[in-house]
Every structure is written in structure tokens, then in C-alpha cells.
Symmetry: C2
Subunit: 456 residues, 2 copies
Amino acid sequence: MSSSAIEYARQNHARFLEELKAFLRIPSISTLPEHNADCRTAAEMLAIEFSRIGLQNVSLRETEGHPLVYADWLHAEGKPTVLVYGHYDVQPPDPIEEWIAPPFEPTERDGNIYARGAVDDKGQVWAQVKALESHLAATGSLPINVRVLMEGEEEVGGEGIEAFVASRPAQLQADFALVSDTEMFAPGLPTLCVGLRGMIYTEIEVRGARADLHSGMYGGAAPNPFVALAQILARLKDDNGHILIPGFYDDIIPPSPEELAAWRSLPFDEEGYRIAEVGSAQLVGEPGYSVLERTWARPTLDVHGMPGGFIGAGAKTVIPAKATAKVSMRLVPGMTPEKAFEQYKGFVAKIVPTGVEVEVRLIHAGNPCLVPVENPYIRAATRALRQVWNQETVFIRSGGSIPIVGDFANYLGLPSVMMGFGLPDDNLHAPNEKFNLRNFELGIESIICFLEEAAR
Amino acid sequence: MSSSAIEYARQNHARFLEELKAFLRIPSISTLPEHNADCRTAAEMLAIEFSRIGLQNVSLRETEGHPLVYADWLHAEGKPTVLVYGHYDVQPPDPIEEWIAPPFEPTERDGNIYARGAVDDKGQVWAQVKALESHLAATGSLPINVRVLMEGEEEVGGEGIEAFVASRPAQLQADFALVSDTEMFAPGLPTLCVGLRGMIYTEIEVRGARADLHSGMYGGAAPNPFVALAQILARLKDDNGHILIPGFYDDIIPPSPEELAAWRSLPFDEEGYRIAEVGSAQLVGEPGYSVLERTWARPTLDVHGMPGGFIGAGAKTVIPAKATAKVSMRLVPGMTPEKAFEQYKGFVAKIVPTGVEVEVRLIHAGNPCLVPVENPYIRAATRALRQVWNQETVFIRSGGSIPIVGDFANYLGLPSVMMGFGLPDDNLHAPNEKFNLRNFELGIESIICFLEEAAR
């Protein structure tokens, strides 16, 4: 462990926290145009800080929306290069009345700092920056080469950064990425997220009659697009949550026996999860797979809404001319969005009920992603986390996707080390968002050590 | 045939038509509050006309909405009493730009009169009134006792008249009703509608998780209410349109072999109906039943809309906490809404998928209705129609419902003679609504003769 950088971080912790509060006071809400100037202020604060701590080539890079902030330090000859990623924008604070303290007046309570953006992602960004500062201030250098890329549109789709990454600029040449925008599985349990599900988001549009018809006059002769959609959807997935599209599971690379064993040893309380997180009468899904397997490592199919027809209060006896289902499937390693969509579209075409015409449209797609735990940077991360937390790292996956991780992999060929310090109860995207102060402190130390271990 | 009344009608036809045009110029759109005064004007015009032609006890009866108009003539001692029904309100004319001539400037073209309300229902009301006038003017009396009840809320639910009828007032004591708000099966083909389907209109609400969840994080463990609804709906009706609710068909009284034979001889072109009226790739419904049987004499199940979740453009990866399906079933003679709803609700409760809770709500119900063709007033109507049209009457049914017919049956015990003179291409509720001038003329004569035949 780098005693001098760690020592510096510990001595300066109070200042680091005050700086984080200043960062949190900027209401950089990316989705609200009236906060555009605040987003720029947050970007400029980062740029000034990057210069102050000794990073070089600091620049704001304009996008169609909020600017990217870039900086680097490339003097560790013969050493690998890390691309450090985070985002300075935050979610809107609504519903504002549920906040105990105002969302942009950071407040310490019970060992946490409360503010919009505390954990998502300003607190984690600040941990990255302070780790870099600690090395530079204590030793005058960094253990490896560092490029930093921060965005201000993560909460609104990240189009600016994707376009930049897709252009494969020389500025982003690196060996791996450090993404600090995830959480730990439980308090005190160092965690690396090594897998994300991909997805295809689609619409099935069913058309029956030419125009809306009266169900009294035409019921019994005219096709009903909602009934047809129900028949299609009921044939896509059985009562056990098994997807019935032929070949859909063929290419799945299942988790290794070691990974499954590790998941079984995680502190996961299924009944507590059902009651506290889901709140349904029962959980659903494929028999023979645990909840973590079902949400992390199995493909799923969900319906998000069914536009069309009459959705007002009361009764209108219309047979609508068309109806649509918004259907998405989560994909797991081994699957590709292209093949999954073709299989799905082809199967739907085979089960079209009599009398209707069906169009299947792809709205959005993303690749699943898996970083092997044998990856040298993952191994370096686990060594660093062990030093700081005195615990073995747990490797988890996420059922969702983090688009930038896919972009780094697809466009730049970079594996991502998803090392985050949030906690499951941090209320991200919700009122009273918080970041645990101990996690902020040990997060800084974890990244200090990780940069050193990555240099080995 | 009453030569004097018929003679009077023929001599005065030009005046009758000009009067109808004046009636059609009143934009009595019941659903638009800015036309409330026009609705009253139409009611007052009817009242003035009833007095002018010699009806008695003429009165406007106020309701929560637009007034009812009542009149009677009760001097045919020992003869039956008819309750003559029609409505003076009309649909809005939208889309106004599709009208060839303005909707409230009645225009003659190609043997038709075009205006909003021409066939639905002012032209048919005027035929009734002019038939009464012709008898009274030619002979000083009517062949049977007559009560007239006109409403101004038919297009907005008819609550005022239902409340009045439900109070079973002595004013409405009669032997049968004459309802002229239907159409002829084909041009020149005298038609009586003798059956209407009933209905139950329901909502199935499915609840899964306590709150909306992210489909990445929870897909594979949290129940999806839309998927559950699709599974339920797919189990309610098979691919052939057969309803799978146990016992649902048990009490149906099928049409008699004679009625079925009569339907088979109707000039019905299934392929023309598919192309011109429905416009779907194929028609649907139970094998072994003709289109007319399926829409007139078989129960059906339709889904009208599925509120809940995300229905905007693009992608939102929500597993909604709840979703609803608006489901109605048409019922046929023999069935009751009460029993049908209990069977349906009980069956849904048995097929609830894992993880969700379901509530089935009844929004609206109506009884099916069937008037035996042996009914003496139906027989009288056929004799009258034969005299005027030189054709045998066809007996048809309608797949929809006419609530006032059910109200007359339920509250007053009256069978309805549904004798209408519209044509299938009259564009009711649509731009360029019309009424055939020959049908107006022969409609008056048909009612003149019907009153005489009903007296026998």
C-alpha cells in the first residue's frame, strides 16, 4: 500500500469532503434546460480541479448537449493507461417535498452525506479525482498513465460521449477503463461488477380492421388487435418465465461453477428482497435458477405498455384498428442483439393469429458485457480492495446495462473495471440520495491502491 | 291501405321535406354545451308541431340534461296504445372538412338529403310525425291510441329518458313501442330488427410489484402485469373466437331454424363486407357460424384498450406495478349479464398467473333482447310493410344494443317494433350523413299503414 498517498488522503479528508459539498451544491440537472448553465459550471469546476491537481491537456469538449471534460497524465513510461470515467450531471430532485434537507444543500447525517448526486455520481467522481490528487501531491507522479473523461449527459442518454467514443479518438487510447458508478453488494463488502445484460427493445404493432369499429356491430367478425397481441405475448413466454422463441437460449454462456458458487455465498435474503424491494405476492421466473441468476445471467422478456384503443375512464365499445405492445428482452453473454431480434421477429411471424397483420420493430439494442475475472486489471482491483477493506472482493453482475461500458468495449476494445462504492439503500434517482462517508474515504484509498496495483 | 291518409301524405310531401330541412338546420348537438340552446329549440319545434297536428297534452319534461318531449292522442277506444320513440339530438359533425356541403345546411343530391341527423334520427322522427299528421288531417283521428316520447340525449347516453322510464309513469302505459332508429338490410328491402345483443363491460386490473420497477434490475424476478394480462386474455378466448369460460354458452337460446334460413336468404356478400366494411385481411370468429350469426346471435369477447405502463414514443424499461384490460362481452338471448359476469369473474380468478393479484370490475351491463316474430305488432308491421314496399319483410338482429329498447322491456314490459328506414351506407356518425328521399316518403306511408294494421 502506498503509504505516502494514503497518508495524504487521510490528512486531507476534511478538505476533500468540503470540496465535494461545493460540487454537490451545483444543481447540474442535465434534463432541465433551465439548468444548462449549472451543468457547464460543474464541468468547469472539474476542469479547474484537474488543472489544479496537476493533470494536463485539460479541455472542455463541446457536444450537442453538455460538455465533456478531458484531462490526462501520460508520463508513466512502459506502464498501462487507464481511462477514468464518471459523470457530473444529476437526476431532477422530484418529489422535492420528500427530501429531509434540500437536495442541493449537502447535509451530513448518521455517517452519510445527503444531496442529489451524492452517490450518482458526484461523490464517486470526487473519490476518483482525490485519489489522483493524493498520488500527485504525495509523489509528484501517478503509478500508471491516466486519461480522465467525464460527461454531463449520463442521465439523459449519453449521446455526446457515445458519439465521441464512436469516433475512436487517439485521446482515448488506453488499456482499460475505470468506471465508478456502481454499488457494493452489501456494506463493507468490496464489490466488482463484471457483467451486464444486453437488451433489445421492440414494438409489436398489430393491425386488424382498416378503421376503429363498433364492437356491437362487428364483434364476432372483425379481428381484435389486443386479443391477437395477448395471444402472441402468451406464446412468447410460458407461465414459468421460460421464453419460447426457438433457439433463444442456444448461445448462452452460463456463469462458471465458481461464479455460481460465489453468488450462492453472497448475503442475499430472497424473502427480504421480495418484501422490501419488489413488494409482490410472489417472485416469478424460471424454476431451478436463483433470483440472482434470473436477474443477472438469464434472458428475460418484459412488456412495458400497450398503446392503442381506449384507455380513458368508463366504457367505450371500440374494436381498435391497431394496438401495439412495447416488448423488451434482456440478453446475457453469448447472445447478440442481432440474432435475438431475428429469432424473435421470425417466431412472431409464425404465430400471427388469423385476421391481423403484424409488424415487429427494433427500437433500441445493446450488447451484453462480461469482463473475465481473470482479467489482469480485475485481479489488480481485487488486490487493491483486499488491502483497503480487509475482505475478499465479491464479483457480481447487474441485470441492467451501463451503455458507456458497452461503448468502451465496442468502439475502443476496453474492458471496464466497474468499481463502485454506493450502497443498495443510497436512494439513487430518489429523494434523500446519500453517499456513505466511510465509503467515500475508503473509495479514495481503494482507487489510490488500484492505480498502484494496475502498474504491477 | 288507408287511401285518404296516404293520399294526404303524397300531396303534402314537398312541404314535409321543407319542414324536415328546417328541423335539420337546428344544430342540436347534445354533447356540446354551446349547443344546449339549439337542443331546446329542436325540442320546442317538436312540441309546437305536435300541437299543430292535433296531438294533446304536449309538454316538455325537464331532465338533468336536454328536455324530453311528450304528447298523446288517446281517443281510439278499445284499441291498443303505441309509444312512439325517437330522438332530436345529433352527433357532432367532425371532421367538418370532409363534408361536401355544410352539415347544418340540408342539401338534396342524387335522391338523398344530406345533413347531420338526416337519418339519425331527425328524418325518421319526421316520418313518424308526418304519418300521425296524415291520419289526423285526413280523417280527424288516429287508428290506435298514441303516446309520443322524444329525447335529446340519445347520443350522450340517454340518462334522462332512462330515469323517466324507470319511474314507470302512467303517462307511458302502452301495449308496444315503435322505435324508428334502425336501418333496412338493403335498399328496397323492408326490415324489422327483432333482436339485440346485451353486454357486460368490465375491467381486469392486474397488480404485481408495489411500485414501478426497472426491467434490467428486476426482470426475471418481478411479475409483469401486462404479461399476466396477456396470459389471462389468451385463456379467455381460443384462436377460433370460442370463449373458454366454462358454462358461458349453456343458456343460449339459438335462433330458430326458420330464422337461420331467413338469414341465409338475405342479400349478404361476405367478401364485400370484409373489404368495404371491415377492411381486414380475413374475418375472424367461430367456425360453423355465418358472419350474421356470429355478429347477431353469438356471444363475443373483445378487448378495447389496456391502460398502464409506458405508452409514449421510444423506450422506457419499466415493469409497471399494474396494468388493466378493458374487456367486454356481448350476450345473446338466454344469457343474463349477472350470470355471465359471475362465470367470467370466477374463471379469471382460477387462471391468475403466479405473482400477481387480479381484480375484475363490472363497468356497465345490459340485457339482450328478442321480440318474437309471432308478436301481433310485429305481424301488423309486416303486413304494413308488404303493402308499401311490395316485398316480404326480413327479420334481422343487431349485434349492438339500443338501450331504450331494453328500458322499455325492463321497466314497462313493452315489446319494441324496431322499424327503421336508414340504409347501410347512410354514414351515420360520420361526414356526409344522408337519408334516402324515397325511404323518407315510404317510411311515412309505412307508419301510416302500420298504425292501421296495429288496430286490427
